[in-house]
Symmetry: C2
Subunit: 349 residues, 2 copies
DNA sequence: CTGTTAGCGCTTTCAC
DNA sequence: GTGAAAGCGCTAACAG
């Protein structure tokens, strides 16, 4: 072993040991100077260590730190689909907040498959993340037979924090979105501007989020005299194509008296808009459309989409703060939503 | 220390040690049974270990494994903005491929700030990721004075692999996108359907990707007789709002003879569409618009947007395969793009 | 304030 | 085939 003491181009990163040797101090002193320790270090030594670290291009091995400290700086985020604007906006919020807290985010996609989700939670647990954030609702009846819940509980028992976004299936901290109340307000406002007969396109089989939105919408109609026949509730995939297909189905079977179609989220609503147009109808004029979420693109479709705004990035940010035990975040209550009327639902009469 | 031998609700995860004890075998045997070792383990022991692991709800500590093995199962991904569909689609591809390779992805956002990018690379290096993927072009003239390049080189020297997506600034493996050729084809096709006078809205100050697209577009026009005045090249932020602002500027100064506006990416084009409409003009009719990327939403705006398709998810996937040394990926050459004509550029005359 | 040393949880020689 | 033991890179008592 030729020890030339110079930063040669080795093919393994410099270790703290190398830095200590280079600086002529002990491991402990090197460690203390490089990372915020409570202990004070002689300014002279400190400088020498920092200088040596720079020379050797030292970068602390986070895995080793994690093992030694017994705690990581990692946050795990699970979403249904990264390319979906709903999730990517939430993710952006989580990543931004994590960055502020000098935490690192690892991300995985469940592709809306509960089995996969369980599998991912298991894998990710190996990282010993400080926090695990699960976004995206899953079926209300758990097809994995409670295995996910158990896994998450085990994770919390071992010191982790799980936060759910808009899915109150378990007893974990949750960022609650006013899905029901928001949809109810939307229904009221729509009736207020003259709509009476509605149809709904929603996600398949009792997804919690979707179900809440539909229930809220229904309640709003009930209170104000709007009509929604059970037959006019279409189920489809909770995606753009689902919205497209649902709308086409609705058109094919005949819109009848329906004046406005409420899609349980914006990506579906956008798909519905295209289906309407592809059927030779004029959205907004022949049939009005409303969505939920206020994803960025709904301002740019035509007609611009009426929706319920939910502050997606903020939700991501809050989820993390909640997990980190932020007092404020814990006391803020449900995330406020807000109805945004746009040309896709022009006032009627 | 009460050692009752039962999986009590401790508040620290079970270790391999615990499993070994529970199974009555040595640490080594437990390790060998749980992870694919070359060594053979007596079937009887193996079963006992697996059973014990299950009972204790054991999950291997990835950090510890990383330290012991000297290698991680992590991939780091840097993008400009997670909520931007261009990047989130690429990210989805990376995550999907990583999942296939049983790798974990950590993600960070540079927010288009070179300083931040450098900072993030430094931090992420601490993870000792096997691979680092950088997406999103940065200014051609490096404001960090080559520091990023040095950092990345140091990372590769220490055994990592960096892959750049569509940014050939350094000598690293790169997923090359036919930005120039794609834009050139687009120009040719547009001239082919009757357009003659063009304007361009592009990203600020020499972003590589933007510059290539504009250059290609220009070349296509030059070859076919289309006209693009230097005055009609507008610079704005490489975002939806940038596109909106750029278009508004163009309209305010007077479109003159301009028949078609080419935006250097789809999000800008979508913003431009809205600006046109907000100015009381009809996109497609009064002025045609074309973009680049073929992000999902461009099918749903009105009129649907002419663009150059680039297979975003595939790019993410390829980036990772390239990093992992996949022969095929290395030999596939540039990522093919394809012109997609849609109603935002109706045939003229 | 500094250095020695015993871990952290896991892998991997190396003997048996 | 199995186990004891020596690390991996780093931190945190613990003495000096």
């Amino acid at each position: 072993m030729t020890d030339d003491g110079i930063a040669t181009s080795r093919n393994t990163p410099a270790t703290l040991h190398d830095v200590a040797r280079e600086a002529g101090v002990s491991l402990a002193t090197a460690s203390r100077s490089l990372n915020g320790s409570t202990r004070k270090v002689n300014e002279e030594y400190r400088k020498r260590v920092l200088e040596a670290a720079r020379r050797l291009d030292y970068s602390p091995n986070l895995s080793a730190q994690a093992v030694a400290r017994g705690t990581t700086t990692t946050v795990a985020l699970l979403v249904a689909d990264i390319a979906d604007p709903y999730f990517s906006s939430i993710a952006a919020g989580v990543v931004a907040e994590a960055d502020r807290e000098r935490l690192i985010v690892t991300m995985a996609a469940t592709e809306r498959d509960p089995e996969r989700e369980l599998e991912l939670v298991r894998t990710l647990r190996g990282q010993r993340p400080r926090v695990m954030i699960l976004a995206g609702s899953r079926p209300m009846s758990d097809p994995t037979g409670g295995a996910l819940g158990e896994e998450l509980e085990a994770y919390e028992r071992s010191g982790g924090r799980v936060v759910l976004i808009s899915r109150n299936e378990f007893d974990f901290r949750t960022v609650i979105v006013e899905n029901s109340a928001g949809a109810e307000s939307l229904a009221r406002e729509l009736v207020g501007i003259g709509y009476r007969r509605f149809a709904v396109i929603t996600g398949g089989e009792g997804l919690r989020t979707a179900a809440d939105r539909v229930a809220g919408f229904r309640a709003g109609l009930a209170a104000t005299g709007g009509t929604l026949d059970d037959d006019d509730i279409i189920r489809a995939a909770f995606t753009r194509d689902g919205g497209y297909d649902g709308m086409r189905e609705l058109i094919e079977r005949g819109l009848g008296e329906v004046e406005l179609v409420f899609a349980a989220n914006d990506v579906m609503a956008v798909g519905a808009l295209s289906a309407i147009r592809d059927a030779g109808l004029e959205p907004g004029t022949d049939v009005a459309v409303a969505g939920f979420d206020d994803i960025p693109t709904v301002r740019d479709v035509t007609p611009a989409l009426t929706t319920v705004r939910v502050p997606l990035e903020e939700i991501g940010c809050r989820a993390l703060r909640l997990a980190l035990g932020d007092e404020e975040a814990a006391n803020e209550g449900a995330v406020r939503t807000e109805v945004v009327l746009r040309p896709s639902t022009p006032p009627r009469s």
